[in-house]
Every structure is written in structure tokens, then in C-alpha cells.
Symmetry: C2
């Protein structure tokens, strides 16, 4: 996938300013201290947006148990985006074969056995198995933030392979979950407006795999399960900066999460795309953060 | 690998207090807000320890290009610790086979092709290829911080599969690199003492693989290339909280890093084990951070 002209210019400007430090893998970049200062400010803005709510916090590492993929339907819907972690488990003879392959420039990783972990594809996925059991009356609200991986190498800076998400997740009955989704869609748009990013709310679908996936995508749209907050950051297609999702019982059923009345729970998440919003801020306000509009600077660094 | 009694008790106490949120994979835990507040305080302490030095900052994501492994010698020395990222690249028929394997409980990940990325095994590894070329007079000093992965599932909380490191890396001539290593070994011990963690400095070796690895380990010790700052946190074996490493030209040679005089550079890193130090603080000062000694609290949260 190649980025459009606007995206290529943005990426070139970010690299030239040292904000992104390219590696040889597409969509895998280092970030400068200046870039990370925006991320840190944005994380605080996101936390303040949930201040006063009865919210728990958990931070998961970038990997999660492989069994989550087996139960969550991820392999059914997004096999091509997964990151499965493999390692070497052989003896010295097998090691000699591995090194001979590396030495000769041959593929060397084809036969590595899988480990018990995979890369988190979305920051809320490792949460659900830890919530197995009966929810308290009124459900549960959790905020999670961390690194996600999707295998889609691209030169579009808005489509990194490794990126950060910050989610507010509700585990509740069907009504409570949908209300959470809708409230946060509004609250998220307000947060972005406070940073000078005007967004439109659109009905969207996930990039489900294959022919069966087209049916799943159509059904997701028909039921208005996914909303995206999209911004026009350049002359290219609009960029989704946040997404607001009703999962129905998609996670609660396989992971055994029930409401206080003993019904299968519903879950919903509102996700801020932390790296995407950071990039959108650079696209909108320019490369030099010291020249960003005063209200934006005050919001990020009060 | 199973943890000793003291480690098992520490882990049980951390889980019971909600500081660690276990998943079904060994050494892959969620962290609470309280745990993360210690991490954030510690990161600031580490940054203050380098304040005033001419240091650049870069943050890399948890994955890095696969080619780094091919050039850095990691596959030769630590194949069993690597995390190689694989994904699915097949058509709908192959997808049906994958899902049938998942459904039947059979291994399903054995034949996934490798992607162009691997998990970072140490936070300084992705840095070296980005420094290819000639260093400025006096070398270069960079601090990097982020997530590392080592495939060593364990119930010992000090041996996580996914953990954070914060390194100060010098790229310089041989003398400059060794001076950096030795200065930071002392500075790191002072930082830890300020947090109530008394350490001893020991000559150490990396866990090189196989028979050839035993020779490499002995040579590393003979040349005093690796120092570890170890603490006695319980009745078990001491825990390395920091490591100080002279790489000689191990990274500079394959990645083409030369000094201002045109010689092959040397590199050295001093690494703070961010999660290990955090865990050691809980082991030493107790589970409730509000009861930690005032000087430790003042250092973490000034």
C-alpha cells in the first residue's frame, strides 16, 4: 500500500524534522522526545476526559496469551492482520541449520514453532478474559492504554504496524454498553475539537477478511455497531482518529462475563488512536509544537 | 522455570493487591494504575539522572525490523529467547484450513509465514541501524526506553516475557564507550541507593545458547564486558536490576557506525530494568506505596 501525495509529504516533513526516525520496516518508526511530549500530553487529556467516572485502569504489555485469539474470533475475521509470536526450540544441530540459512540469505524463520503469546491487535482484547465472572450491579468501566500491532506494512504514516490506543471499555447490559458507546462518541469528538481537530462521525465497518467478511461488514453497518470519528487532515481520504464500538456479546460470551442479573453481558469500547491523533495534530498545526495555537498547547500541557 | 518461595509469595501479594493482573500466559501480566505510577516516577528519576548531559532521546515501538536480528548476532547467541512475528498470507481456502485446525484444537500457527518484524529483545537494538555513518567528534549519547520481549515463560515476577528497559547508550571510540559504561555503573548504583535499593556490582555474562555459547560467556567474563547491579530482595538468589555493557564493535561493525576519525566505533549501554526495579521497590518497601519511606516517595514523586 502506498500513501497519497499529502501523506508522503507529511511523512517526509516528520522525518526531516526528526519527529519520526525511520527503520527499514514500513510502518515501524522511532519517535523523538518532541513527538512523545505530544503523546504524553494527549494521554493526560484522555485521562481528564474520564475524570470523575468510576473507572478502573489496567495496562497490558504488547503481547497477550495466544488463547485470546482462539476465543475472540480474531482468526476468523482478521487472520491477515495478526502478529503471532514464534521462537526457536531446537537443539544445537537445529541451531546450526538455522544459522546456515541466515548465512546463505535463505528464509530462516519459516519453521519456528509458535510460543504461547501473540501481539495485541487492539488494546482492549487482553482485558476481557481477566473480567470473567459476574459483573457488579451497574457494570464495570475500565480504561486501558498500550501498544497494538496490525500486519499492514504501509508508507502512510497514519497506518503504522505498531501504534498506541487508549480505550474506555464498558462491560454492562445491552443498554448500558450502547449508552457508553454513544456518550463517548460525543465526548471523544469534544476532546478532539478542544485540540483543534474537527471531526465527523461516520458509520463504519472493520476490515473483515474474505467473502464471509463482506457479509460481516454489511451486518456491522446495518446494525450501526461501529462509528468512527474522522478528520480531513490533508487532501487525501479522511482519517479515523477514534472508533466507538458495540461488541454485543462477542467478547462476553466466549470469556464468560455475565451481568449482575445473570445474563450474558455486552461490551463496548471507545478508542482514541493515540499515534493517529498525534500525527493529525502535526498535520493540522504544523511541525513545530512551539507554534501550535495557544489553546491546543494549553490543553496538552496545562 | 518455577520461582522460589519468596518469589511466589511476592507474586501472590502483588496479584492479591491488584498491582499485577494475571493472564493465562506466564510472565505476561497487566499492571494497575498504582504500579504504573511507580513506573512513571522511576522513568522521571532515570531521566533526571541524565539531565545536563548532551543526550538525544528516541522511543522505538515494541517491534523492530527482522534484518536487525540477521546482522546483530542475536540468532547466533540467543535463538531461544527471540520473538519472531508471523502472520497469515493465504487465500480463503487456506483460511478455511486454519479455522478447521483452531476448531479441532489442533496446532494452527506452525505454518504461518514470517513478517518483516521481530520483537525487540533489548531496547537499544533498534537504535544501532539508525546511527549508521560517521559519528560527530566526541561520539553520541542517546537514551531509549521501551518494551522488550524474551521468550522465557516463568512464574518468577522478576522474569517477565514482556518488560520495559530504559537505556543510556554511548556510540564513541573504545575509551569513550568504556568510560560511559563505568560512569553509568556508578551513577546507576547511586540512583538505586536513592530509592532504598542497595546493590552490589558483579561481573556477569549473557545467557548465550549452546556449547559455543559457554565459550562466549567465559570470554565476556574474562574481558569484564558485562556488569550487573544486583540486589537481595528476598531469600532467593539476588536479582539484577541494571546492567552495564561494553559491546566493543559488535553493533558498530555490522551497522556501519564509525568515529569522526574514521575508525569502527564502539558502543556501550547502561540499562535500567524498569519493571524489575519497580518490583524490587514493592519487595523492599511493601505493597502499599503510601507507606513507602518518605525519601523514596520524594524521589519518585517530587
Amino acid at each position: 500500500m502506498t500513501a497519497g501525495d499529502g501523506r508522503a509529504r507529511l511523512r517526509a516533513a516528520l522525518v526531516e524534522a526528526g519527529l519520526l526516525v525511520p527503520t527499514s520496516a514500513a510502518g515501524v518508526d522511532g519517535r523523538s522526545a518532541s513527538y512523545e511530549a505530544v503523546v504524553a500530553g494527549l494521554e493526560d487529556v484522555i485521562l481528564r476526559a474520564g475524570a470523575g467516572l468510576p473507572v478502573a485502569s489496567v495496562r497490558f504489555p504488547p503481547v497477550m496469551p495466544r488463547t485470546v485469539f482462539e476465543k475472540s474470533g480474531y482468526l476468523e475475521s482478521f487472520p491477515d492482520l495478526m502478529g503471532s509470536v514464534h521462537s526457536f526450540g531446537g537443539d544445537e544441530a537445529a541451531h546450526a541449520d538455522l544459522l546456515a540459512a541466515v548465512e546463505s540469505g535463505a528464509p530462516w524463520a519459516d519453521h519456528l514453532p509458535p510460543t504461547d503469546v501473540v501481539l495485541c491487535p487492539a488494546v482492549c482484547h487482553p482485558l476481557y478474559p481477566t473480567c470473567a465472572g459476574t459483573l457488579p450491579e451497574g457494570g464495570r468501566l475500565v480504561e486501558v492504554s498500550g501498544w497494538c500491532f496490525r500486519h499492514e506494512p504501509s508508507t502512510d504514516p497514519f497506518r503504522m504496524q505498531s501504534f498506541r490506543q487508549h480505550d474506555y471499555v464498558a462491560l454492562d447490559g445491552p443498554e448500558g454498553a450502547r449508552r457508553h458507546r454513544d456518550r463517548w462518541a460525543q465526548r471523544g469528538a469534544d476532546v478532539l475539537a478542544g485540540l483543534g481537530l474537527e471531526v465527523e462521525t461516520e458509520v463504519a465497518n472493520d476490515p473483515f477478511f474474505g467473502r464471509a467478511g463482506r457479509i460481516l461488514a454489511a451486518s456491522q453497518r446495518d446494525q450501526v455497531l461501529k462509528l468512527e470519528l474522522v478528520a480531513h487532515v490533508d487532501d487525501g481520504p479522511p482519517v479515523a482518529l477514534c472508533s466507538a464500538n458495540c461488541h454485543l456479546d462477542h467478547f462476553a460470551l466466549p470469556f464468560g462475563i455475565t451481568t449482575a442479573d445473570g445474563e450474558v453481558a455486552h461490551t463496548a469500547c471507545f478508542g482514541f488512536g493515540v499515534d493517529r491523533i498525534t500525527l493529525a495534530l502535526f498535520a493540522r498545526h504544523g511541525i513545530r509544537t512551539d507554534r501550535w495555537p495557544a489553546p491546543v498547547r494549553a490543553a496538552l500541557w496545562p
